[in-house]
């Protein structure tokens, strides 16, 4: 459609300028944090760090990563993502596949059984008490088991599976394939896009989660990277000891000048915590939008 008129042209220009500024504002705080993380801590205290580090250094990261507990937290986070996502995908794909079969006896009862929890839940404390009884407190399993089933994901998988032509499955069955063979050899390879979408989705949720640690973990050896960041933001003890250690080491090297500051360490931790997300972001964006759109289609 052709659109003309001076009014509209002025609007278009203003719109482009406005959205351009807004997009910049969306990115800029992160860029600034990157600059602070790579800048000399003492130098940052003079202000004026905008896009680039003024006195570039890896010192903040070196200090941060010299702490063994940070490395351990990184490993725990990775294990949480890998194990948690694998379990969730297995459980959800199997359920989604089975629920596509209209002939399945008890299908409606099962759907109701899965839907009801979307409206009711026990609340934090009943869940806490149950976990304590099941021995899940201070147990790595609390990271990977409770989130393994989300009915919303199952609905999305099922909606996608409905788009695969039934004839494919039927011809395989004529050739003597069993239900499981059909799922494994035909449906699963064809479902790669939706599996990628939901796996990324689940992985991001697992990576970003820190309240599970807050609620159910007290053992420092099970802390995740996100939780470490929370501790650095909320509790100054940890960061202070890191800075002190760095100062002691720095004394030998640089005649008593403390170069790292709590602010710089914190910025470095933000970067370490967010870098995996930034790296997979190009894939995330596409897959997340697909997921949201499939999910919003009413059955």
């Amino acid at each position: 459609m052709k659109i003309t008129g001076t009014g509209f042209r002025i609007f278009t220009i203003c719109n482009i300028v406005f959205l351009g500024l807004l997009s910049l504002l969306s990115l800029y705080p992160y860029l600034n944090t990157v600059a602070v993380a790579f800048n000399d801590g003492q130098d940052s205290m003079l202000g004026g760090i905008t896009f680039f580090p003024r006195k570039p250094t890896f010192g903040n990261f070196a200090t941060l990563l010299s702490d063994d507990t940070i490395i351990r937290a990184l490993l725990i986070s990775i294990a949480k993502v890998v194990v948690g996502t694998s379990i969730a995908m297995t459980v959800q794909f199997a359920a989604g596949f089975a629920l596509t079969k209209k002939r399945l006896i008890g299908r409606n009862v099962l759907l109701l059984y899965f839907i009801v929890p979307m409206f009711f839940n026990g609340g934090l404390i009943p869940v806490y008490l149950l976990y304590s009884k099941l021995g899940l407190l201070n147990n790595f399993l609390v990271y990977v088991l409770p989130g393994a089933f989300a009915f919303f994901n199952v609905i999305i998988i099922r909606t996608y599976l409905y788009t695969i032509p039934v004839s494919l499955e039927e011809s395989a069955k004529i050739d003597g394939a069993s239900e499981l063979t059909v799922m494994w050899r035909i449906i699963l390879p064809l479902s790669r896009p939706i599996i990628a979408t939901i796996a990324l989705w689940t992985a991001v949720t697992h990576w970003n989660d820190w309240t599970t640690t807050l609620n159910f973990i007290t053992k420092p050896s099970l802390h995740t990277l996100q939780f470490k960041l929370m501790l650095m933001i909320k509790e100054n003890d940890m960061i202070a000891s890191l800075v002190q250690e760095a100062a002691q080491r720095g004394e030998a090297n640089r005649a008593g000048m403390i170069r790292v500051t709590p602010e710089a360490i914190r910025a470095a931790q933000v970067i370490v915590t967010t870098v995996p997300i930034i790296l997979v972001y190009p894939f995330l964006q596409k897959h997340f939008i697909n997921g949201v759109l499939i999910g919003s289609v009413k059955e």
């Binding site: 009014g7 351009g20 459980v91 006896i105 099962l110 609340g123 934090l124 069993s178 933001i233």
Partner: protein, 329 residues
């Protein structure tokens, strides 16, 4: 004891009833059984899901009873003595509860007023972009913050708002070099503006996705007809786009209204520090329940919160169906 006997009798009669009535339909019964046996792999595939939902969703439900019992760790949920509404009363006697409820409602209402319309407006503006590449770059940048965790967002805010950060630099540049640098995150007065700004920054861009999809689904013929009738872009937006996306807007609004009594725990808890001590219901539940071990009290509080959220969702859905004939069920 008598109730157990009653149950037994009831079961027996049920069983005999079942036998009696199934005599005529024995064929369909065996057909069902055959079918289920044939589909046993499907049930095996469903078994883990059924188990996970049972353990992690249904099993905590009896725990709500703790709200009405004198909970004793050694006696368990079932063995502890009933105390009626004792804990519900205690909730209302908590010294910080009035304040927490007020803060929860205040923050939720302001978030709804500010953060709900923002993505709709942004979606409308993005929809007007004709430069494909610019649009894609803008969307990519606007969606990014959504994928960071709340605690990372707070970490970024600590750098951005810091005494030596860009925000203070800009203030000095605007108001002169002798302006005092402000610690925005360590000041009670800035707490609510910070909550709103961070929520806007993280979620506005991403929330446009659903509205953009809804706008894209509008029939182009409607716009053409309006164009022929002399409506400009602005009038087309008011009279065609907005009414067309209203069902989507209402559904999103219902979800939001259901959340009015909840708050974003990760954001509020993350922003609390020695200088900022605003409490909302969810932080009170965490602090009373997990930190202090007052299980019964916080279960009662969580129960009240869940109940109100449920009532709000039902009421919002009812209203939306009355007014716009679109709802979530």
């Amino acid at each position: 004891m008598p109730s157990n006997n009653m149950k037994g009798v009831h079961n027996v009669s049920m069983a005999s009833d079942g036998k009696g009535s199934s005599l005529s339909s024995v064929k369909s019964g065996s057909w069902r059984w055959q079918q289920m046996k044939k589909d046993k792999y499907l049930y095996i595939l469903l078994a883990p899901a059924i188990l996970f939902v049972f353990v992690f969703v249904y099993m905590p439900l009896p725990g709500i009873m703790v709200a009405f019992k004198d909970y004793d760790v050694f006696k368990g949920f079932w063995g502890s003595d009933w105390v009626g509404l004792e804990h519900i009363r205690e909730v209302f006697e908590l010294p910080m509860i009035g304040d927490a409820v007020v803060q929860t409602l205040l923050i939720s209402t302001l978030t709804l007023l500010v953060c709900f319309p923002a993505p709709i407006l942004l979606a409308l503006l993005l929809n007007e972009l004709r430069l494909k590449l610019f649009k894609r770059v803008a969307q990519t940048l606007l969606y990014l913050p959504h994928f960071l965790s709340w605690i990372s967002v707070i970490g970024i805010a600590y750098a951005f708002y810091s005494i030596y950060g860009p925000l203070n630099d800009i203030r000095l540049w605007l108001f002169g070099a002798d302006t005092e640098r402000v610690m925005f995150l360590a000041n009670q007065n800035f707490f609510i503006p910070n909550v709103l700004l961070l929520s806007l920054w993280k979620e506005t861009g991403w929330s446009t996705v659903i509205f953009l999809a809804s706008i894209a689904a509008v029939d182009p013929q409607l716009y053409e007809a309006a164009y022929i009738d002399g409506a400009g872009r602005f009038k087309q937006t008011i009279h065609i786009t907005l009414p067309s996306i209203l069902p989507t807007v209402m559904i999103m609004l219902i979800f939001q209204l259901g959340n009015l009594f909840q708050s974003n725990f990760e954001l509020i808890y993350g922003l609390q520090n020695p200088f900022v001590n605003t409490e909302v219901i969810s932080t009170v539940i965490y602090k009373q329940g997990i930190q202090q071990g007052a299980y019964a009290l916080s279960t009662a509080l969580g129960f009240i919160q869940g109940l109100i959220a449920f009532i709000l969702t039902v009421a919002a859905n009812f209203l939306s169906k009355k007014l716009t004939s679109s709802g979530i069920w």
